[in-house]
């Protein structure tokens, strides 16, 4: 797609700006769909039905919700730091949106085809941490501050297992660029990294337990980084009102919301690209191509977004010490074992 645009516009910075638009459109559409999905799945798990009155089975409700948020009064608390308060939601969204630049939506489309790919995504998500801290401090509210601190501590801790899990996949594929990683997994379901990638059979069988563990841990760490239940301590309603976005209303709250949803997809998409073949079709060459690529990556990503929602209504919230225990004493040592074992298997 980049080459196509370049042939029209020449080698111009405008090309890169246009390249940045599709993820933004995708995030906005996806947020609407996920809003609906979250409500419906939540309701059906609890034997309810959720929206039923706006359109067929309430499909128009997300639009109504967004309209409501746009119309709402944008309240800035009198004692808040107005500049930082206004800046924070945009910073959080920027961090998440920046991550989308390295997600290959299909063979032909990737926002920025840099070599560093995943490493860049991990780095970009650190802007989110700063944004959360900013929102928590600027609100001048103890709940917000505590929520932001918890959130930052949580994201920083879970970056370590997720980076190590990424390392496991990267060791096999030999590239940080998610597009190359996806290309590497060509040839159907069993060539995906979670099944050992296109390695000789013996190596593959030896490697599967470790890749599967790494994939599972990456997914769990992703849920923690997206601040979703059971790791939603930063937003723990029963103790912290709404965490860092307690004081936010109207459009700013909507931006936080969209950023959270976008982050859910981002972590899913990274896991999908690294372990489940990204835009590769599970049936080998059948149903593959640039358009099918978009379909596959979105379907796979949405499956894990669904999984996150599903998990939300299954597990209660963890305690802070349990959260840290899982990260430092379970996931990190296990991943060290995985990294070591995968390295060993690849060398032998």
């Amino acid at each position: 797609m980049q080459e196509l645009l370049k042939s029209f516009l020449g080698d111009n910075a405008l090309v890169y700006i246009i390249m940045g638009v599709p993820p933004l459109i995708f995030i906005l559409l996806y947020a609407l769909v996920t809003l609906y999905m979250e409500m419906k799945v939540s309701a059906h798990i609890q034997d309810r039905v959720a929206y039923m009155r706006t359109g067929w089975h309430g499909v128009l409700q997300p639009f109504a919700d967004i309209l409501k948020l746009i119309q709402k009064e944008d309240i800035i608390p009198a004692q808040a730091d107005k500049l930082l308060f206004t800046l924070a939601p945009y910073l959080v969204f920027t961090g998440t949106y920046a991550g989308f630049a390295a997600i290959p939506f299909s063979e032909g489309y990737i926002g920025s085809n840099i070599n560093l790919g995943v490493f860049y995504i991990v780095a970009a998500s650190s802007i989110v941490v700063a944004g959360l801290l900013m929102s928590g401090w600027a609100s001048n509210n103890k709940w917000s501050l505590l929520g932001a601190m918890r959130s930052a501590a949580q994201i920083v801790s879970y970056e370590i297992p997720s980076a190590l899990a990424i390392l496991v996949a990267v060791m096999i594929t030999g590239s940080l660029n998610l597009n190359d990683v996806s290309k590497f997994q060509e040839g159907g379901l069993f060539n995906w990294v979670v099944f050992g990638g296109p390695l000789p059979l013996l190596q593959k069988l030896a490697i599967i337990p470790f890749t599967a563990t790494a994939f599972f841990i990456l997914l769990t760490a992703g849920i923690a980084e997206a601040n979703r239940t059971p790791f939603d301590l930063p937003e723990a309603e029963s103790e912290l009102v709404q965490g860092f976005n307690t004081e936010y209303s109207g459009m700013k709250f909507a931006i936080f919301y969209v950023a959270e949803y976008a982050n859910m997809f981002l972590v899913s998409a990274v896991a999908v690209c690294l372990f489940l073949g990204g835009w590769q079709s599970p049936f080998g060459s059948a149903l593959s191509g640039p358009i099918w690529g978009v379909f596959w990556i979105v379907i796979k990503g949405m499956a894990f977004v669904f999984f996150q929602i599903w998990l939300r209504w299954t597990l209660p919230r963890l305690r802070v010490d349990q959260l840290m225990y899982v990260s430092w004493k379970v996931m990190t040592p296990m991943l060290f074992v995985c990294v070591f074992a995968v390295g060993l298997i690849l060398v032998l």
Partner: protein, 167 residues
């Protein structure tokens, strides 16, 4: 002017402007958050120099690590949030002299250096693979020593921070 140049100058403006805020701001938390934009702007400069690994590392280490740590520190020492830092000027003339000398030296270096300006950006960036090979190849010993030093620092910090268990 080329759009890329405009973007470059926007980043320059962000870097310098936020750096000025860091120095001038009386509010310590605002100064810390302004530092975020400075570091981000510097990362953008690296990206413009085609050093993408350095840019991303800058973002990860400085923004994600050091800055968050700094903000945590500032927030946890809550007495400093409410207290404004005194930013008065003391010994104006002496300071101006030193600043002039320092600035002059820097400007002199910038002017006198023979910059190796490439007519075209390099086709391939000296990205992660090359850096990785160097770390694990010719520079293995310094790399390992640095890791060992960091490990020692980590253990030491844990030991100091840990409360003595009274049995």
């Amino acid at each position: 002017m080329d759009l890329a140049t405009v973007i470059f100058y926007v980043f320059v403006l962000i870097t310098l402007g936020s750096a000025a805020v860091v120095v001038v701001s009386r509010n310590i938390v605002r100064a810390a958050f302004a530092l975020l934009f400075t570091l981000f702007g510097v990362a953008a400069m690296y990206a413009f120099l085609m050093a993408d690994f350095l840019a991303v590392t800058q973002l990860l280490v400085y923004v994600g690590g050091i800055l968050v740590l700094l903000i945590f520190g500032v927030m946890l020492t809550n007495r400093q949030i409410s207290v404004d830092i005194k930013t008065g000027t003391v010994q104006t003339w002496l300071a101006a002299l030193i600043v002039a000398a320092l600035g002059g030296t820097l400007a002199g270096i910038v002017w006198s250096t023979q910059w190796n300006i490439l007519s075209q950006p390099p086709a391939e960036t000296a990205g992660a693979p090359k850096i990785g090979e160097m770390f694990l190849g010719s520079y293995l010993l310094p790399f390992e020593i640095a890791s060992a030093v960091l490990l020692v620092a980590l253990i030491g910090a844990a030991l100091i921070a840990r409360r003595e268990r009274t049995s």
